[in-house]
Symmetry: C2
Subunit: 224 residues, 2 copies
């Protein structure tokens, strides 16, 4: 617990549209995101700007850039929020100081990797409604992890253009598809809020499984 708190000892606040990690630079630290939404976007030459990942409160920003000399994307905040930077050497020491905590972090990264696989295999299939369904359910369940009074809706600070850049659709088609899903009683929108009206149907059409619902951490023994 002390070690975990140590990672969050220097909270820094940021405003909307801050650049948190610059593209093509060396990254020598990680950030615990404690409040706010941050997106990782590729600075591609084309006008489209693929969004590689959406970071939500509780996530650690920078893992996927750690083993490389230069960052491949930039991280930009979409809301104001708070993050806690710590040097990557701190993570390295953790493997010696607490093998148990290292295993937990390893498990966390592995879970995220599984979610990433879910996205890769779903988003590459051309069904706009299924893509959006997966985005909505994954985001809702991930937000619930750190915000337990969340039930069936959340505030989404991403524009439809950005959602399209994430799942691979044009903003126009995101709009149309969301409208149709709303007409079919699957979701409901109000301002920037997204409400899940029919979780089961959304889950079935996107072949979704809640990765946090049936964990097995037997191999992370309580007392090492």
């Amino acid at each position: 617990m002390d070690l975990l708190e140590d990672l969050e000892k220097s909270p820094t606040s940021f405003i909307k549209d801050d650049i948190i990690i610059r593209s093509e630079t060396a990254l020598d630290r990680l950030y615990v995101l404690t409040k706010g939404w941050v997106i990782a976007e590729k600075m591609s030459h084309a006008d489209s700007r693929p969004i590689v990942h959406v970071f939500l409160p509780g996530d650690i920003i920078g893992f996927s850039e750690l083993p490389f000399q230069k960052t491949s994307y930039q991280a930009r905040s979409r809301t104001s929020g708070i993050m806690c930077p710590f040097p990557s050497s701190r993570l390295s020491r953790l493997f010696v100081e607490s093998p148990r905590l290292a295993r937990l972090i390893f498990a966390a990264v592995t879970i995220e990797r599984a979610e990433q696989e879910d996205r890769a295999s779903q988003f590459c299939r051309n069904n706009a409604a299924a893509k959006l369904a997966l985005f909505v359910l994954q985001t809702l369940d991930r937000l619930k992890l750190l915000n337990s009074n969340l039930r069936d809706q959340f505030q989404c600070p991403l524009t439809q253009q950005e959602i399209g850049d994430l799942v691979g659709l044009s903003s126009v088609h995101v709009s149309r598809t969301f409208s149709q899903m709303e007409a079919n009683g699957l979701i409901q929108r109000h301002k920037s809020f997204l409400k899940v009206k029919d979780y089961d149907s959304l889950a079935e059409m996107s072949d979704y499984r809640n990765r946090y619902g049936s964990l097995n951490l037997d191999w992370v023994p309580a007392h090492p």
Copy 2:
């Protein structure tokens, strides 16, 4: 070194189309794949069968299923080959016995995660040639890691149907797009061999970066 060799002490051979991991079962071990190709496919109800990942020699099969109670996909061999199973508790012990090796494995998983992000963000965009270009380059560079006499071509044991299931295209469109890429001098095919004729063009059209080309493992100190 002893610890690494320990993981490969019980080599098992498999034939083509063996089921290595069954879907919806508990997984208590991992497999070092030393020879052959293995695919991870979702047993979806529909006739399409999304391919979540392709394992190549040197990969460890099962990481992404480790923290869950049940596997979400099945692993099936596409060639004959050799793998070395070891219990997941072995991985757990590794975190105590060798923090340095644990960090290296952590780094390896992180690199794979970055590649997965590359796939997710590219495959979700609707450009058949770019999808296939990314698949070809990623596969070639990954194969080169353990087979250094590989230069510009490799034997691909996947059918066009399977390649389509991986990148999200119909088999018909894979055929057409490959033919066109061949006509444009980007690749060349002969039997099941795929030859890269114009690496740079393929890399540019798919926004590819070789993840193993510019690693920074400073945070994995040589002497912990």
